[in-house]
Amino acid sequence: MSLLPVTRADHEIILNAVPEGARVLDVGCGDGDLLARLKKERRAIVRGMELSQSGVNACVAKGLSVVQGDADFDLALYPDNSFDIVVLSRTIQATRRPEMVLRQMRRIGAKAVVSLPNFGFWQVRLSLLLTGRMPVTQGLPDSWHETENLHLCTLLDFDDLAKANGFTLESVTRIAAGKASAPSVRTTRLLNWLSEEAVFVLKRIAADRP
């Protein structure tokens, strides 16, 4: 599901968000590059779920514990609180039910780290404004009928959804032209204009008591 530039600036940010020795589940882990780095550089206890067979096979051959699964259906298998951090990198926009996925992530781990392409990026807005056609940019390279993205959103949209589902924002980091900026504690309108991609670090709010 590589839609954004191949340099994974989001991986660097995710690595920094993971403390030493944390238990991490990467949903949509691809070929396991992030998992391998988390294991090596953070001594994290890592597991992965990946939809594509080729991705799963590549992970297992690397010695990673990865299963084939679909974020839309298979997150329900994981027990409550079985991880410290659940990572969803460049995946949520391709899920059928993003809200359900977020709720499952909240149930499984105390923290969620989500990276996603931003439809509110100025180049995307300008492209739609000027051409009157669905934007095709470096970050969103496929035309509307070919893209795997089902649920594109802006940073403000995602911020709303996360907060409506029991998360508070710990930080949001802007990425543009493959470079990350300093993390911000608020998803501002300016950030929404300037981010091609962003990484949200979300913290679960304690469950409501009946």
Binding site: R47, Q53, V56, N57, C59, V60, A61, K62, G63, L64, S65, V66, V67, Q68, D74, L77, Y78, P79, S82
Partner: protein, 372 residues
């Protein structure tokens, strides 16, 4: 001729799921490589229905080559320079381990007096061998097909004795279709007049026709439609036209007949009945109130579940069922489906994706367990 076999005789009573005990217990087994001083490098390999303990060297009785020669040996993925590899003939078998062809307490072959055994009984016998070898904890338990069932039984019943588990092309329970094919095989054996109600050794006969038919039927389930088509198609056997008779006109007929006739030379008909029965009875969740994930909660090692896309005998869905239960139990599991058109038998063949996964899994498990 059985003198070429290495056999451990234990004067213990092996308790059985069906009640009672089996005594004495004989186990035919082989080992390769050397056990390290800490006894932490042992891999137990569990063989399939008609397999034997000769996983890495030729069988001296049958002359058959090692059945996993492509995977087990010096410098291979299951490296006998590094690991101490153990493989034993299953309980109920006919290659040195106690089975229906063994001599019973009254001095004659057991025949149908041999107790009906289960996969758990087979594992109990393997555990007795592992005890005898002085090994507390196995680095890994690996097995395909029925061997995979034994792997699952090991981690369910002896979770702290296994570091890494690899069930391949297997299932946590036998399906109605699996039981059905086995029943056809058993009925073929029992319909042969030479079966003599199981007492053919005393009668001096051998139900070769029935056993050959059983093997022919089973062999079809080991191959995919695509593999059969590629290998044989509708090609005729040493002839240019149909004979309008019941001779083996087609190559596939000739092939199955050959497989059947070869099998009866090396396998005991009653063993075939007992082992297929043990597989039919296998339902791991049944011992855990029907919750398969409960079978895995005590297991703290790693698991890698492997399946093959064209395997309709133990299809990938059976493996996914195992994987899902393991995830629910919090087991560190990886799951791998190999894209192949070779059917169930693919686990014995050269499948690079499968071999890469096994290498990666063993390497990571060795690092986990601090094995050099």
């Amino acid at each position: 001729m059985q003198s070429a076999l290495k056999i451990l005789r234990l004067d213990i009573g092996l308790p059985l799921d069906g009640g009672g005990t089996l005594s004495p217990l004989e186990i035919g087994y082989e080992t390769w490589g050397a056990l390290n001083a800490a006894k932490t490098n042992a891999i137990l390999i569990c063989h399939a229905l008609t397999g034997d303990q000769f996983v890495a060297s030729p069988n001296p009785v049958t002359g058959q080559p090692a059945w996993w020669d492509n995977l087990v040996g010096p410098g291979k993925i299951i490296d006998t320079d590094r690991y101490f590899v153990i493989c034993s003939n299953v309980l109920g078998g006919c290659m040195g381990t106690s089975g229906p062809a063994s001599i019973g307490p009254n001095g004659t072959p057991y025949g149908l007096d041999f107790p009906v055994i289960t996969i758990a009984d087979m594992v109990r016998a393997q555990a007795a061998l592992i005890d005898h070898l002085g090994i507390d904890r196995l680095f890994a338990v690996i097995g395909g097909s029925m061997g995979g069932m034994q792997v699952l039984e090991w981690i369910a019943s002896r979770p702290d004795r296994v570091g890494a588990a690899m069930p391949i092309a297997s299932a946590a329970r036998h399906s109605a279709q699996n039981i059905a094919f086995h029943e056809v095989g058993r009925q073929a054996v029992m319909a042969d007049p030479d079966w003599q109600n199981g007492a053919y050794q005393l009668a001096g006969t051998k139900p070769v026709k029935g056993l050959a038919v059983a093997r022919m039927a089973a062999h079809i389930t080991y191959l995919s439609d695509a593999a059969l088509h590629r290998k044989f198609g509708r090609r005729l056997q040493n002839r240019d036209e149909l004979t309008f008779g019941f001779d083996a006109d087609f190559q596939i007929e000739s092939y199955l007949r050959y497989q059947g006739s070869r099998f009866v030379d090396r396998f005991d008909a009653n063993s075939y009945l007992y082992i297929t029965r043990a597989m039919d009875y296998f339902d791991l969740a049944a011992g855990f109130n029907g919750r398969l994930s409960d079978a895995f909660t005590a297991f703290k090692g790693r698991a890698c579940v492997v399946s093959f896309s064209s395997d309709w005998h133990y299809p990938p869905a059976d493996s996914r069922h195992i994987t899902r239960a393991m995830i629910g139990a919090g087991v560190e599991v990886s799951a791998f489906e190999v894209e192949t058109d070779k059917g169930h038998d693919a686990f014995l063949l050269d499948e690079p994706q499968f071999h890469q996964a096994m290498a990666g899994f063993l390497e990571a498990s060795a690092a986990d367990q601090g094995l050099q």
